[in-house]
Symmetry: C2
Amino acid sequence: MPKKVDHDERRRELVQASWDVLCVDGLEGVSLRRVAQAANCTTGRIAHYFKGRDELLIASLRMAHTQAGARMRVIAESETDPLKRLRAILLESLPLDARRLKEWQVWLSFWAVSIGHKDLSAENQLRYQEWRAALADALRPIVSGKQVSVLADRLVTLIDGLGVGVTLSPTKEARQRAQNEIDIFLKSLN
Amino acid sequence: MPKKVDHDERRRELVQASWDVLCVDGLEGVSLRRVAQAANCTTGRIAHYFKGRDELLIASLRMAHTQAGARMRVIAESETDPLKRLRAILLESLPLDARRLKEWQVWLSFWAVSIGHKDLSAENQLRYQEWRAALADALRPIVSGKQVSVLADRLVTLIDGLGVGVTLSPTKEARQRAQNEIDIFLKSLN
């Protein structure tokens, strides 16, 4: 009797394998062959779940984004003070440890390939909308309604700028400076 | 009698051809074969001037950086008021027209491949050092000596954040917001 296959679980395994390859080899290294190796299956099985490399990539990036979002919600919910909560979310979004540095390296790769690529670009826009909305939610208890939108945009810019800087030059000084800039920003809200 | 070959000129042509390919096809599209096509020569001739794809890529990015730097110097020198000069440099550094958008798309690609790649990463660090030094020079007549370094770092972060935002979503609103943010920053210097 054939084993009952959990298709959702199988799909998740492939997405995870693709993410693992991404983190080790970078975006250029992701091929169906390489992901099949990592998932210990055939490329034929991948084709059963995903139309091709791009669909698999989008699924992995969506998974990573969802996981980062979940981490952020846990952090946000453990903080009742609005300013401390915003600070925790901002720090969690920066590449301040090895795991998040890896994530940022993947985002940077993703930015590069999303240029001139409609599906990936749309996925990226979606990710930004969600991120901006999360920042607006965190800002709302702290600043006046009119300021929320301007400051959410400003924070997206600040985190992108700091994140790029630390990712391209991940030194202790760069990480410290990024944290300082967050605190300077938060102080300006008072 | 064989034509006298101007090797520097020949080299420059190949670098320019490589940059042209970069701008049209993106970094993944740059191969020696493709550059040879664009330069109307053989891959053998490219091999005569460059050890390989990476060396050619570095030369193209260096050329683009040098050209952007030269544009900025022209702008800087045409402005005698220090604050207006800084503003002109900052606006010139952003992807506010088609040519600079193309350059930013290439920088983003370059960031992605420079991760985990020693030579490209070193080239990138060098580019940042030069850019930071240019900003510090422009800040020096405006702010106190102690502030120059902090503000130069902050401007690098601001421009990276704004540049990424506009490059990934090159809308009129994004360009307008980027210009506003520059003016808000400059106002904070007073």
